[in-house]
């Protein structure tokens, strides 16, 4: 009865690799925060960024797109990403980096293919998102320092999500002028991050102003303003989106204030306001769509999912406060708390799936008993 030509097992298998990327990336983040555990094979704290951006986000986003496209070749993108995660974790950096580049190239091809099928502004923005990852990974292959290339890695989830939001927000019927404004702001933002290679601080400050304008655009035109009045996953998703846009505004303000440091606590604050505050809010927002699409299992809604969301924002505020106040312990507490929030969200998904299926089994069992 189905026309699906790719097995759910393949999707779940690749999803598993994205989870490996996330968990090892989080662990590398903890090591970066100062956690030391005696392990036979330790993960370098320097692997935190590459694992989170490529191992997790790269695999997940390319898998989501490949699953939507239903073309076998499209699975080369998440396949290469997954394989490179394993290689990076095994310390085989050279081939690992080449495969990362191959994965991002195939993701770019997927996005171009989608644009050719449906040439609209939102697909163009997604092409720029995949292009941003490709540029970042090209620089990574040539051992350019991460603080120099990280703006391209930021561009990947940011532009992909902006494209998705523009697509969905057609429903709000934004005026054509507003759509052009959004696309223009994105082009200018890309120019801004390109210019960071020449004049790092001023370019980042200009890009930060543009980021705030993009966030304000989303506040005005995103359907989340309406769906916040709905219920269950719909309301939850809207709250995640709106708080995520709030973090974009704060990240923009921080960028205007501090420019784009190359290392240290302000660098830490800037990156995590975007990657944790914005990107993880978006992941929480879309989990109710992404997981069923890939695994075939609908996640039952439960109020529990508000707990990790609240903890995510709360601990990020603590972390940023620790960064600004140059208080290492406060920053550490915030960082550990962020990991806890993500794990609570991640753990909540199988827990609630299991709970529902065991309730169904019990119900079926008692119905059979009644019949007997």
């Amino acid at each position: 009865m189905t026309n699906r030509n790719v097995s759910t097992y393949l999707l779940v298998g690749l999803l598993f690799f994205a989870a490996i990327g996330l968990l090892t990336g989080l662990y590398a983040g903890l090591v970066r925060l100062g956690l030391t555990i005696d392990l036979i094979h330790s993960i370098s704290p320097l692997a935190h960024g590459p694992l989170m951006v490529n191992g997790f986000l790269g695999t997940l986003i390319s898998l989501e797109r490949a699953a939507a496209l239903e073309k076998k070749w499209a699975y080369l993108a998440p396949g290469f990403m997954a394989l490179s995660t394993v290689l990076l974790l095994s310390g085989i950096l050279g081939i690992g980096k080449i495969l990362l580049l191959a994965g991002s190239l195939f993701l770019l091809i997927i996005m171009i293919y989608l644009y050719r099928l449906h040439p609209r502004a939102y697909h163009l923005i997604m092409i720029m998102g995949a292009g941003s990852l490709f540029v970042g990974n090209s620089l990574y292959l040539f051992n350019v320092p991460i603080y120099t290339l990280v703006s391209w890695w930021i561009g990947f989830p940011l532009l992909t999500i902006f494209g998705e939001r523009l697509e969905l927000n057609r429903i709000m019927r934004p005026p054509q002028k507003a759509i052009w404004l959004f696309v223009t702001l994105i082009f200018l933002w890309i120019l801004g991050i390109t210019a960071t290679h020449i004049q790092r601080n001023i370019s980042w400050q200009i890009a930060s102003v543009l980021l705030i304008m993009l966030a304000l655009w989303l506040f005005k035109y995103d359907v989340a303003r309406r769906t916040i009045k709905a219920a269950q996953w719909t309301r939850y998703s809207a709250l995640c989106l709106l708080t995520g846009y709030g973090w974009l505004v704060l990240a923009g303000l921080f960028g205007i204030w501090k420019g784009f440091p190359r290392a240290g606590l302000f660098y830490d604050a800037q990156l995590h306001m975007i990657f944790v505050g914005f990107v993880f809010s978006m992941i929480f927002a879309h989990a109710s769509v992404i997981i069923p699409s890939l695994s075939g299992k609908s996640i039952p809604y439960h109020k529990y999912f508000y707990l990790p969301l609240i903890l995510l924002h709360l601990f990020l505020l603590i972390r940023v406060a620790g960064d600004i106040a140059i208080a290492a312990t406060v920053r550490q507490i915030g960082g550990y708390g962020n990991v806890l929030a993500i794990l609570l969200f991640l753990g909540g998904v199988p827990y609630h799936l299991f709970k529902i299926s065991s309730q169904k089994r019990k119900k079926k069992g008692s119905q059979l008993q009644n019949i007997a």
């Binding site: 009865m1 189905t2 797109r65 939507a68 996005m111 697909h123 697509e167 219920a231 996953w233």
Partner: protein, 109 residues
């Protein structure tokens, strides 16, 4: 073979239970279901997604299949994803109470 009117109504009613989780609106009111007909003793539901790259695509397929499977009167069915014509916001039902209140399916849970 024309599809029995009652079964058709039943299918439409049940498909109103398939809700886009992010919008909180069902796929009938969103205009994602294009056609419901019977061919070679098989009920065929033609539906679409908002774009070819829509991450909801597989989810919708599963939900439509599960819905058709749950209707006792239907023995054979096919949930067929189509791309022509492309979905547009003009396909959303005019009388849908869009976000005015939680849809009934959500309220009842």
């Amino acid at each position: 073979m024309p599809l029995d009117r009652d079964i058709r109504h039943r299918i439409v009613r049940e498909l109103r239970g398939v809700i886009d989780p992010e919008l909180g609106v069902n796929i009938i009111d969103l205009g994602l279901v294009y056609n419901i007909f019977c061919r070679d003793n098989k009920v065929v539901v033609e539906f679409t997604a908002t774009t070819p790259g829509c991450p909801m695509r597989r989810f919708l397929q599963q939900q439509v299949e599960q819905t058709l499977d749950s209707i006792d009167e239907i023995d054979h069915f096919e949930a067929r994803l189509v791309w022509e014509p492309s979905w547009s916001i003009d396909m959303i039902s005019d009388d849908v109470e869009f976000f005015a209140q939680p849809p009934p399916q959500l309220q009842s849970n």
